[in-house]
């Protein structure tokens, strides 16, 4: 559980964080617990019936996806400011986890939409904006995958991450205007206050899962980067 520090190697001076498997267990138990509590303690909604119970996973997924995106923005900015590699690895980790959560949000939104509106996809403002957000994430990850040089990858990802984040509110606004100009928007989340507790609890527990996933991904990224640098140093004949 000790931090392994690579003081000597040129380039990779990122400390490798400990494993923290317990956090994974705790957070998964937490969401299981809050989901169970919320589902069993909520009465059917007047309009949505029991379908409202889907909100206890859909809303937290969306909420944490946006937190992840925000982390990408902040970490990217920090990297461009401080040029410390750890910020780049945090951004990349948050982006990957965020992409997974965004995809999950979309899937759950679709599952909710099918019995509610009769179709798997509705071009509703939130769903559509989320799909675009997912594509922005994927572009970010594709750029990273295509760039071999670590320093260049970090710089480029940071720029792309920041521009992508700037666009999120603009995308959301434009899609919303597009959908509401000549029709009434039916919002899927005008939920009565009786459900707020369940939603808040599940959002909190999902945030814990988010933290764990990003930390775990960050650890893997540090190890990968360290291995990369170590083999570079070995190839160059230096000490590791």
């Amino acid at each position: 559980m000790t931090d392994m520090n690579l003081g000597q190697g040129a380039g990779a001076d990122v400390a490798i964080p400990p494993k923290r498997a317990w956090l994974g267990l705790v957070s998964l138990l937490a969401i299981a617990g809050t989901q169970w509590w919320a589902v069993s303690n909520s009465a059917p909604d007047r309009d949505m019936g029991n379908l409202q119970k889907i909100m206890y996973v859909h809303v937290p997924a969306a909420w944490t996806a946006f937190i992840a995106f925000f982390i990408v923005l902040v970490a990217s900015a920090m990297y461009l400011w401080k040029r410390e590699e750890k910020f780049d690895l945090v951004a990349a980790s948050a982006a990957e986890v965020g992409a997974v959560l965004t995809a999950l949000t979309l899937a759950l939104g679709s599952i909710w939409g099918r019995p509610t509106w009769g179709t798997w996809w509705t071009w509703d403002a939130r769903l559509t904006s989320t799909a675009i957000l997912l594509l922005i994430y994927i572009g970010y990850l594709a750029l990273r995958a295509a760039t071999d040089d670590a320093e260049r990858r970090a710089r480029w990802s940071a720029a792309v991450g920041i521009l992508g984040a700037i666009n999120v509110p603009i995308v959301y606004m434009s899609v919303r205007w597009w959908r509401t100009l000549h029709q009434v928007q039916s919002s899927p989340s005008t939920i009565s206050s009786t459900y707020v507790d369940g939603l808040r609890l599940n959002a909190l527990s999902m945030t814990l899962v988010l933290v764990w996933l990003i930390l775990a991904r960050y650890r893997a990224a540090c190890l990968q980067r360290a291995a990369e640098t170590a083999s570079e140093n070995a190839a160059l004949g230096g000490r590791v």
Partner: protein, 219 residues
């Protein structure tokens, strides 16, 4: 900046082949959309704004990677970067050259859209031209920016659209909605909202791309 723009344009003028190819590709795209949408005049008219802008996007995207190509092939980029000049002037120069290129392509395909899609351009010609300009500025800003990266890595042909197109969704929506509204008389004044969105988008991203460019153009 002027030098960079002039050089890019001069290269393009000498090799008109690329310009012609892009224009023919744009025309082809318009035709294909026509086949896909069917021959009903009213349907085509209703779709004309959307088809026009999609054609601009699909053909314009071919321009941006190329604008970095000559420097990449000759290693001139490293030389250019050795000068202590402002990086933003490189961006501005490339932006202007690409903007001129894409606007010229649009100048050819706009009449084509009028003919093929029965686009009632004469209902609001100057407004539509203004929308074309505003939308193209946003398009070329981000295209020039992302191509600085995409042109230098593998799978650049797909990476550029993958990075660029999600970012252009607001431009696409705003430009198409504004164009359609104006061509149909714009009874509700919708186009003003969309124009405002385009202007805001263009300003924000031109500044952002300009500032971020130094981070992406260096080695």
């Amino acid at each position: 900046m002027g030098a960079v723009a002039w050089k890019d344009l001069a290269v393009e003028r000498r090799t008109k082949a690329n310009f012609n190819a892009v224009v023919f590709f744009a025309a082809l795209t318009m035709l294909l959309f026509g086949f896909a949408l069917g021959a009903d005049t009213e349907a085509l008219k209703a779709a004309s704004g959307g088809v026009l802008w999609l054609t601009v996007l699909f053909s314009g995207v071919l321009v941006f990677n190329r604008s970095y190509q000559t420097e990449l092939e000759t290693g001139a980029l490293e030389v250019l970067l050795m000068y202590p000049g402002e990086r933003w002037s490189i961006f501005a120069g490339k932006f202007l050259a690409n903007l001129a290129f894409v606007l010229l392509v649009e100048a050819v395909i706009l009449p084509l859209a009028v003919v093929l899609y029965h686009m009632p351009l004469l209902n609001a010609p100057w407004s539509v031209l203004m929308i074309m300009l505003l939308g193209t500025i946003g398009f070329v800003t981000l295209g020039t920016f992302y191509a600085a990266m995409a042109s230098r890595v593998r799978s650049r042909e797909v990476l550029l659209p993958l990075l660029l197109f999600p970012m252009l969704v607001p431009v696409l929506i705003a430009a198409v909605q504004a164009t359609s509204a104006l061509l149909n008389g714009d009874a509700m004044g919708d186009s003003r909202t969309w124009v405002r969105l385009l202007v805001v988008f263009d300003l924000i991203f031109f500044v952002a791309a300009l500032l971020a460019f130094e981070h992406v153009i260096e080695g």
